[in-house]
Symmetry: C2
Subunit: 467 residues, 2 copies
């Protein structure tokens, strides 16, 4: 019977120990160590970070030839008996009865050698990099964070909604957008005036890739109370940094009958839940990142789970920064946006814990955020965490029709482009709030991976859409 | 304390009955029925299909005025006492102590009247249609199917992988694709030869929206054994039918060390699991569709869960169809693709149950499917279900490098475009298999909804990218 290495290493409590049983493991060879009278083969099948050790004795059929053909990357099926291991790095090992080579792997040309490769190099072989310890562990943690996200919201009664990817409207008019079209760029149809004739395009008008599912999320919250999205979003900004992707996944919950305090509670609870889930379900992978990638990681994650987040208004935060007597690159004054250096100072140095900043000046925030009674600030909230800065941005939404219309005017946005969004305020409007979380930022935070391009399987950024 | 209607109707077994307790419900008015001495108000908050009945007595503060302002669509917060209901349609109701109007809703202009609206009309108000019974129920079932999908694969140890949306390669060279670009169509950069200069585009080459995540899924299966994707995919075909969308969600599992039989087992188990999950978790919504939308639905779904799927080869299916003596629109002969009418005959009439057809002629299937020993057919499998026809398409993949290269040639595809896909066969290749499921087809099947445009919140099809 085939068993995955994870099952072998962590047999369910209600199952007998596999010791003594005859099993088959299938996977890829990580290392081969020839001893005088036998061979150690380390097998990985991706179900766990650690390999399973196989002992191959010379009495195996075709021992010599088979051992010669084994090298890193070869795929194998090995049948044998599970025994207690005398070695100190593992508790169990497999004494092989049959080693079957499934797919060879020429060590002369295989790009993944046993040595450590740079992240830059691994990105050029994104089709092979999940076979490395680091990228395999990222994939497992990313999977756990995704599933924990669904578990969290489903337990709370939120409905998962798929908001559209192709859109003819742009949320906020903020980010630069990608165009989507079926027109042939070498033979564009033209109007009489010589302009591109979009009535001939697939959707009969210009369309784009969405920058956020929030506005559509509000539609469903205004009908079904609590919803969340989890889907890809896009920014066409020419940002060649370790913090930006052109294509990334966002999680956007939206709650009806909720204000900014409910929003903050939900964001804090969400982060604690998902981080705790990973600490409990990906122990080995976290240990790996803690040891080799980001020392102190486990402690930082436990701190997130166990510490109540601080909450402070933007105005208060500005006073802290003004008094900090720190040589910030960007000066701080009331009305200007907080920069990454300010955010990190607040979370890492001043509060030494995650902090939620609220009530930002309306001028630096989006039109849909609810105007506070002071008429200068809006009910926005940003969650800042050490080492990452802003990880979540959210707000209570403007639910009053007249205020929302006014904010559209102030932002030079046209009412007719937002007719359906305004309708939500016209018909049974409710106070509601939500937030957005860039999923890759969360993956970065939980793994300690420095470059966001390694937090997603196939990163898209200026000049790169490979694989 | 606020309670959702679902909590009130189905209190957890370990909690005392809510009868006698003081609670607040928040939601939208569905109907108001004025009796002589009191008023019945039906409230819906989206957590369930059914409303919660509120009894408002004249001793309420501002009774007259408040009752006058209540109409369909108004959002309210109602505080009161939960009592056993004397009515026969519900077991509990709320005797109001306070009725607070949150957002008014002008009955003169509100597009959703109490009468039944056509699906076509509702699509024009996709921002309000989730407030209807039918579209609300679709959303809840879609949510349950999504979550059941994750539960199923997570329990089996599959990792959820996000494959890219923007791509420079096209899976199969099959479907028509949408172009993605940041070039200004009114000022396209040109090469010396007068062609569009894509080196100036965001990704420095032509890019498209993905038609499938399969090839990238194979990358991760070739490293981590079992994976699945669940993300949006796109087809730019000008198909104005009730079965096609330009943007739809696909689920694509991929298993290493698996053959076509494992693939069929997984597909059958998946369908049974998700359908059972919905039968158990969305009873009320299924009852609704069973009664008003698709009579016999519940029985059909239970049949899926309880009946082993039939399995038959394509060649056998063709013989059945040839002997069927049916006036098919498309003639059947070995070598031609099965049409919807053939698929439905097989599943609905001949086998009267889901059937998996295997081993199709290689000419009508994709290049990546594994060539069988007869060298005429490939290890493909399609799952056909009554009323829908094909719901899942899958195959064992060609894992032999030389065969795959030959298939590329036969399909006029260039090796250099598939260098990384070929590498998977070059380095530690393993037998692997997977399938694709159009998620909206599953939603259609489980709800009985006729038009796929009502199975997704915001449908995209030729001429429509509204909201």
């Amino acid at each position: 019977m085939r068993m995955k290495i994870k099952q072998l290493k962590n047999p369910p409590a209600d199952r007998p120990s596999p010791v003594g049983s005859d099993v088959t493991i299938k996977g890829w060879v990580r290392t081969v160590r020839n001893q005088k009278t036998f061979t150690f083969i380390e097998i990985n099948d991706g179900s766990t970070l650690s390999n399973f050790q196989v002992v191959a004795n010379p009495d195996l059929p075709n021992y010599e030839r088979t051992m010669q053909e084994l090298s890193t990357g070869v795929s194998v099926a090995i049948q044998g008996t599970v025994v207690e291991s005398p070695g100190k790095n593992q508790s169990l090992e497999l004494v092989a009865k049959e080693v079957k080579i499934i797919g060879p792997c020429d060590p002369e040309t295989y790009p993944l050698q046993k040595k450590r490769h740079s992240y830059e190099f691994l990105r050029t072989i994104a089709h092979l990099r999940p076979r490395t310890n680091t990228l395999g562990a990222v994939a497992r943690i990313r999977n756990a964070l995704s599933f924990a996200t669904h578990l969290f919201f489903q337990k709370k009664g939120f409905l998962y909604i798929h908001t559209p990817i192709i859109t003819s409207s742009d949320c906020e008019g903020a980010g630069k957008m990608f165009r989507v079209s079926t027109l042939d760029p070498d033979a564009l149809p033209r109007t009489k005036e010589g302009k591109v004739d979009y009535s001939k395009d697939f959707f009969e008008k210009p369309t784009y890739l969405t920058v956020s599912g929030q506005l559509e999320g509000e539609i469903y919250a205004s009908a079904l109370s609590d919803i969340y999205t989890f889907g890809p979003t896009f920014r066409a900004e020419n940002s060649n940094t370790s913090r930006h992707l052109a294509e990334f996944w966002m999680i956007e919950p939206e709650m009806a009958f909720a204000d900014i305090n409910d929003d903050m509670d939900c964001a804090e609870e969400y982060l604690k839940y998902t981080v705790k889930y990973v600490l409990e379900h990906c122990e080995e992978d976290i240990d790996f990142f803690n040891q080799y990638v980001s020392p102190g990681l486990r402690e930082r994650l436990e701190h997130i789970v166990n510490t109540p987040f601080e909450r402070a208004s933007y105005s208060y935060a500005v006073r802290i920064l003004e008094k900090a007597n720190k040589p910030f690159e960007y000066p701080v004054k009331w009305g200007s946006d907080l920069q990454s250096e300010h955010e990190r100072f607040l979370a890492e140095e001043y509060f030494s814990k995650p902090v939620i900043i609220t009530d930002y000046p309306k001028e630096i925030k989006s039109f849909y955020m609810r105007l506070n009674d002071d008429e200068k600030t809006v009910a926005a909230m940003d969650v800042l965490v050490p080492r990452i800065g802003e990880i979540i941005g959210g707000s209570q939404r403007e639910d009053r029709l007249d205020y929302l219309k006014q904010r559209l005017i102030e932002n030079n946005l046209k009412e007719e482009d937002y007719w359906w969004y305004l309708d939500l305020r016209k018909y049974g409007s409710v106070p509601h709030a939500g937030f957005g979380l860039g999923f890759e930022r969360l993956v970065q935070f939980v793994t300690g991976i420095e470059n966001i391009r390694d937090a997603i399987p196939f990163p898209r950024f200026p000049g790169k859409a490979e694989f």
